[in-house]
């Protein structure tokens, strides 16, 4: 019996390793091959304190956790600013260095390991046998599981997944990606340190080979076998890999040495096969017990009150959203007819949606700007300049965005339009000039800081988080959620869940505004390209930013959808938004009726309506080449 309990205990310890690594690898998408090395930091700290200083079990483990937290945070600081390859490289290096220090440092026992570690001890009682240790390990395992669950299956975890899917897009929504990466790396290392300390106490031995790169790989295998971003999977993975040892040794009777080699060979090979055939692992992300029993617990999105109203309005106009607008051209072949129909439906849609939005919360500016007042420019750009090597992409641009208006930015390919958006939002650093957002110079601020000040951009290539649902994409964009920081998650659970309900409601409203509420629970990857573009508008809206910079919202969009996009964009000023659109589709801009800046070769050369542009010989030539 003790033999079996011993195996279960080992599973519990390795499950702690796997659970924490899953946060890093599965949720946040950061590869690390130093997980066992952080276990070594904790394990050796605890072992040293126990063997050499005679410190008790609980305090040594606590110190071990803190040590590995600090080590993990410090070690990751430089690499997390860089691409994922650098983190792999740095953790690789960290792993080598930890093992060589341990071997080189005679006080830590050298190559043979550190002996003389005391028994696990609880309230003055030694825990000599596996069955004595089991309850303690089980409790600690459950705590770690609950902790990881809270982090992973919460707004925090949603954010981690967004980082995994697209770091740049996450930053564009105002999230400080770097800080989150450091936090999750630190937390992950701390848990690895805990597991390492428990492992060392459990065996009363700390030895270098127990924490080598190969052990890190086996922990990665646990996570990947079980399923990335699925915590139950990690426990299953840990069980499979730990049990494989005794199975090969006893049942296949290979003998201890051969069994160990076969075990590594087999799970290495299994990793390769799995990556080729089923990279999502045994229990994929988003599947849980509830998922398996889905016929019993059919999860439905609570439909917001808005939706029936909205669809009633749509039905009244003879056009249910969103297929309606897409079907419109077929119903009314004449282009003008279609546009009118679009206008009617969008008018209705806006009225309903906008009333709700304005009632329920302030978005950007509190009062809707009336057409009568003179509009202050919200964004004032002067003398902006940027060159890449010898090419001046933006050459002294002056530009104003008047509050509550849609302004177009047009010009031939390569004129510098997208570069301009990059410069406004902190993705690129201008060489000279000022970008004043409501009087604050945002030049040199990071994308997330600029978003926090109220200006966000969308991307020409949408950059929706494909592995998240449409609703999650939009919920994520909401600023200042208490569930996105550790303090909120663990100290104010009530405020987290009430915020989560509110954020969800808002997100559904934004999705209703762009006509996508029915597809809220779809994975974004399943949406048509045009729908993704609409969802991207909902996502920038959800940031609450006042200034929205939309990069080619209709490029690559099926012509049938263009009217829907136009309707949505025309509705934005009524929500208090100031909008700038980069666009090639002039008919679209004309429909919106936006005044346009005309940009050529890095310079603004005219400001005109699309109509004026069409009649001006020179501009027409610059744009169309005819």
């Amino acid at each position: 019996m003790e033999y079996q309990i011993d195996i279960v205990n080992q599973i519990l310890i390795f499950a702690m390793f796997a659970l924490s690594l899953n946060l890093l690898l599965g949720y946040a998408g950061q590869g690390s091959i130093a997980h066992a090395a952080f276990g070594a930091v904790g394990g050796y700290a605890a072992g040293y304190l126990s063997a050499k200083s005679g410190l008790g079990f609980a305090p040594s483990v606590l110190i071990a956790v803190v040590t590995s937290l600090i080590a993990g945070t410090l070690a990751s600081l430089p690499a997390l600013r860089l691409g994922e390859e650098y983190l792999i490289l740095l953790t690789f290096a960290f792993s080598t260095i930890v093992i060589s220090i341990v071997i080189a440092w005679s006080k830590l026992g050298g190559a043979y390991g550190l002996l003389g570690i005391q028994q696990m001890n609880l309230f003055g009682h030694d825990l000599p046998d596996p069955s004595d240790k089991f309850p303690l390990l089980l409790v600690l395992f459950l705590i770690v599981f609950a902790f990881c669950w809270r982090l992973g299956e919460s707004p925090f975890g949603r954010l981690l997944k967004a980082i995994r899917e697209d770091e740049l897009a996450t930053r564009s929504l105002g999230k400080n990606v770097y800080a989150y990466k450091v936090i999750v790396f630190g937390v992950t290392s701390a848990i690895a340190g805990l597991a390492g300390a428990l492992f060392v106490y459990y065996n009363q031995l700390a030895s270098p080979q127990e924490f080598s790169v190969n052990v890190s790989i086996s922990i990665i295998a646990m996570v990947v076998f079980g399923g990335s971003a699925n915590l139950f999977g990690s426990v299953l993975g840990a069980a499979l890999i730990v049990v494989s040892g005794p199975v090969l040794e006893k049942w296949v009777s290979l003998g201890e040495e051969k069994a160990a080699l076969w075990r590594l060979l087999l799970y290495g090979a299994a990793l390769v096969v799995l990556m080729v055939l089923r990279p999502q692992g045994i229990i994929p992300e988003r599947s849980s017990l509830r998922g398996w029993l889905s016929p019993l617990f059919r999860r439905r999105a609570p439909t917001p009150a808005l939706v029936p109203e909205l669809s009633a309005a749509m039905a009244g106009a003879g056009a249910p959203a969103p297929t309606a607008t897409s079907a419109a051209p077929e119903n009314a072949p004449a282009f003008v007819g279609a546009a009118q129909l679009g206008a009617v439906t969008s008018g209705l849609r806006q009225d309903v949606a906008q009333d709700r939005l304005v009632q329920q919360r302030e978005i950007g500016v509190a009062t809707l700007p009336s057409t009568a007042t003179v509009r202050e420019p919200v964004l004032v750009v002067r003398g902006l300049r940027k060159s890449f090597g010898g090419i001046t992409a933006v050459d002294g641009v002056d530009l104003d965005l008047p509050a509550g208006e849609v302004t177009g930015l047009i010009g031939p390919n390569g004129a510098g339009k997208s570069t301009l958006f990059g410069l406004f939002t902190g993705f690129l650093r201008p060489d000279a000039g000022t970008v004043l957002l409501r009087g604050t110079d945002v030049r040199g601020k990071s994308p997330d800081a600029v978003a926090g000040l109220g200006m966000v951009r969308s991307f020409q290539d949408v950059r929706m988080f494909q592995g998240l649902t449409v609703l999650e994409n939009v919920m994520l964009a909401e600023p200042r959620q208490p569930g996105e920081n550790l303090g909120g998650l663990f100290l104010r659970p009530a405020s987290v869940s009430s915020s989560e309900r509110r954020v969800r409601e808002h997100a559904l409203e934004y999705l209703a505004f762009v006509g996508l509420v029915e597809k809220a629970d779809w994975l974004t990857a399943g949406l048509a390209y045009a729908e993704q573009k609409l969802a991207a508008i909902a996502r920038v809206l959800a940031t609450g930013a006042e200034v929205l910079l939309l990069d080619e919202p209709t490029s690559g969009v099926d012509p049938r959808w263009v009217d829907s996009v136009a309707a949505v964009i025309r509705g934005l000023p009524a929500l208090g938004k100031t909008v700038c659109i980069v666009e090639h589709n002039l008919a679209f801009l004309e429909k919106i009726g936006a005044p346009c800046y005309f940009m050529e070769a890095g310079k603004i050369t005219a400001k005109a309506t699309v109509g004026e542009l069409m009649t001006d010989e020179r501009l027409r030539k610059a744009y169309f080449g005819v």
Partner: protein
Amino acid sequence: MNLHQFFQLFVNGTINGSRYALLGVSFALIISVTGRFHLAYVLSYTLAAYAASSTADAWGFPFPLAALAGIIVAIAVGVAIEVVVYRPIARKAGGSALLTIFVAALGLTIAAENAIRLTWGSASENLSGLPRNGLSIGDVTFTALDVISLIVFWVLIVGLTLFLQRTRQGRLITAVRVNPEMARVVGIDPDRIYLLVFAIGSALGGVAAILFTVKYAAVPDMGLDAVFKGFLVAFLAGTASSPTRIAGAAVLLGLVESLSGLWLKAQWSPLVVFSVLFIYLTLLPLDFWRPRRLVSAFAR
């Protein structure tokens, strides 16, 4: 510290650094062109060494033939990994394949190491056939093998540079590295270029492994340290840099690692290597080679 010790460590550092250079150049070629984080480079490296020593041992191959066998095995392994593992994963995962490929490469690495232990045992395997007599300049000693290795490493590095610059195939490789989409548009088949790159990179790694085996011995886990050094050098220099720049960084790393022995015991030299990497990565986002950027980064 005395002058003799300095020169001896300098020579050792140059020899090691030149080996890192060949590894770094080949690894950088693979990652910059194909984007695959090819940790399973370990396989090509280790199996080349074992193939050479086994064919020499069991079938009595003379050294040149055994070395050739090793290099062919290295190429075959590298190309097979690309075709059987990496390419299908990349097809499936698209742009986000880096981590998946990396995990698969980890799996290959660990499986191969243990397959080698099961086949050949965990003891070391030897390979002879190159002169290893000691030479000296003044007090500084080295072996004929070191001189041969040095010549081979640098001939290969310069040869690769010339190949990439001067030949049609080489320019095709550069084209795919710089812009795979455009390369495809003008009719270059990236898949074929990838295979070529894996073949070249694996062959160069095989050469490094065989010379290492002649100098020391082949052991099942010999590949990990070699690949680590290759990674390190490639990233320190920038994976898209020219082979000469990567080789320069490698020699510098070899020297730093070796000369640290003037002050530290040899077992601490990994700590020095790690510190170099850590400092470099800390400074990297600050663009420290552009002083103006540095000032503004601190002012932020």
